[in-house]
Point group: C2
């Protein structure tokens, strides 16, 4: 079974355990709509891959950490899509949660997914109770104030924001939590694996900015041109398209180099390279001389 | 130092530890606005009182559980006040968070407070790591799907709702989490203390309904007449004003009777009685013959 199928099955089980015939039905439906169908599930895949690289001696806990990260990610997308933020009608190729269920249920489904994430990790910690508090710390730092994705999103409300602070918080923080919590779920040190997530997360945000400019609505599964429309900091705007692509490549290179020699290192490097190629396909740039140079410099494992 | 001052000091410390000069300033301000000044802080007071009744052998953990409950409560008020729900301009006698900081920061501050709650409990669990998972389970069941306060709020989006289900989830669930987590933080059994929270929470919701009808905007710290305006289920509407007051008294009586004989039982019964009197002052009903009868039946400790 592919990692994505494993993840989807675990998400399905977790969602089911939070549903009841006696509970409000629309809330359950809205939560499901936020989680299925998924996107690339790249964050939880990273959690599992890092846990595997660290021995994965408690697979129940690593899977719980992985889907907790994904639940929070899905919840954050629901809130980011709200009318007061992006007012996005589409997400992952289907209607956004607030378009389908209304704004109130979108707020509540996002809230419920944050709660469910913590509940899921706690429920899976029986074998390794000592690991629970560190995992919660890691996840919370990736999500909350002052440097998690919530802080990242709130930089958009400030009159001034440093692009790198914005990107590190808005996307990098949850990627860092994904890799670090994977290590912690396997009893390993979080710090060793933090860089991988941070660099990859920043690269991810840059790819998103580039795609937003290129107008790739089909891939994004949401409208493009949003950064411009919402006056958001954007690396494509700040560095130019070529500069942004170069920066992307540098970050992916750093992410790959940060992977220490370990059990699953080859598979992990391959996952990162595959994801980088999925985010910004080399073929996109082959018609343009300046970009061919950029593509040639890429050294994915 | 009074329990409220103790709680406010702990809340202040927790908020401070999630602030940074390098983080987004407005988010921190919005979070502060949501937490200070507080209301009656009745939920966390209950957590502390129950922990005390159970021996309170880990005061750091019981205080963390108490303020976690309060953070989640404050976050839920911020989201409940949003334009898509109550569109409340005032809360606790000051402007609501979205009126002061805008809708986006209100959504984010509410999210951040949920995250901070879990982070706070985890950070305080060093001495009693085995208690962390059960406390998180209890808090999450009081907050999330399918029966927590988020579910309670989402009953307002369903075409039909049973009043008792709505009230139990909307308010009772977090009160139950408050008392049960206080017991768990002291290493005691959650079940013994669940009833106290449930009954008191239901009573609290009824008092809120009654006050909403009586138009006590000053006490509520928010506009009255909201249940009618938002077509919400209300016990004052369903049982009539007298019926609702009678039901309130029955529930408070049950809550008090549920307190087992223990170290702090007298103080705890006094807290419940004081809170009941604060919620629905006997003096309110003395001009009305039918209500004098109701008042006379009250048997607070």
């Amino acid at each position: 079974m592919s990692p994505i199928k494993h993840l989807d099955r675990a998400l399905e089980q977790a969602l089911k355990s939070h549903e009841s015939a006696k509970g409000p039905a629309l809330l359950s439906k809205a939560i499901r709509h936020a989680v299925f169908p998924g996107g690339a599930r790249i964050r939880p895949q990273l959690t599992l891959a890092v846990a595997h690289a660290c021995g994965n001696d408690d697979p129940q806990l690593s899977m719980a950490s992985a889907i907790a990260i994904e639940m929070i990610h899905c919840g954050s997308l629901v809130h980011d899509d709200l009318p007061c933020f992006d007012d996005a009608e589409m997400r992952r190729g289907q209607t956004s949660v607030h378009k389908e269920f209304g704004e109130r249920l979108a707020v509540l489904a996002g809230d419920a997914l944050i709660v469910m994430a913590y509940q899921t990790v706690a429920a899976a910690s029986r074998r390794s109770a000592q690991r629970l508090a560190p995992i919660i710390k890691t996840i919370s730092e990736g999500v909350g104030a002052p440097f998690g994705i919530i802080a990242g999103q709130s930089w958009e409300c400030e009159s001034q924001a440093v692009l790198s602070d914005y990107q590190r918080s808005k996307t990098g923080a949850l990627f860092a939590a994904a890799t670090a919590s994977g290590a912690q779920a396997a009893g390993a040190d979080a710090q060793t694996w933090m860089g991988l997530g941070e660099w990859l997360g920043e690269a991810y945000q840059i790819a998103d900015d580039i795609r937003d400019v290129l107008g790739d609505a089909q891939f994004l599964g949401k409208p493009s041109g949003q950064d411009e429309e919402h006056h958001r900091p954007s690396s494509a705007k700040e560095l130019g398209l070529n500069g942004a692509v170069e920066h992307f490549d540098t970050l992916v290179g750093k992410a790959i180099s940060s992977i220490p020699s370990c059990k699953g290192d080859v598979a992990l490097k391959r996952l990162v390279a595959f994801e980088a190629e999925r985010l910004l396909p080399s073929s996109w740039f082959q018609d343009d001389e300046r970009h061919i140079a950029v593509v040639a410099q890429r050294q994915f494992a």
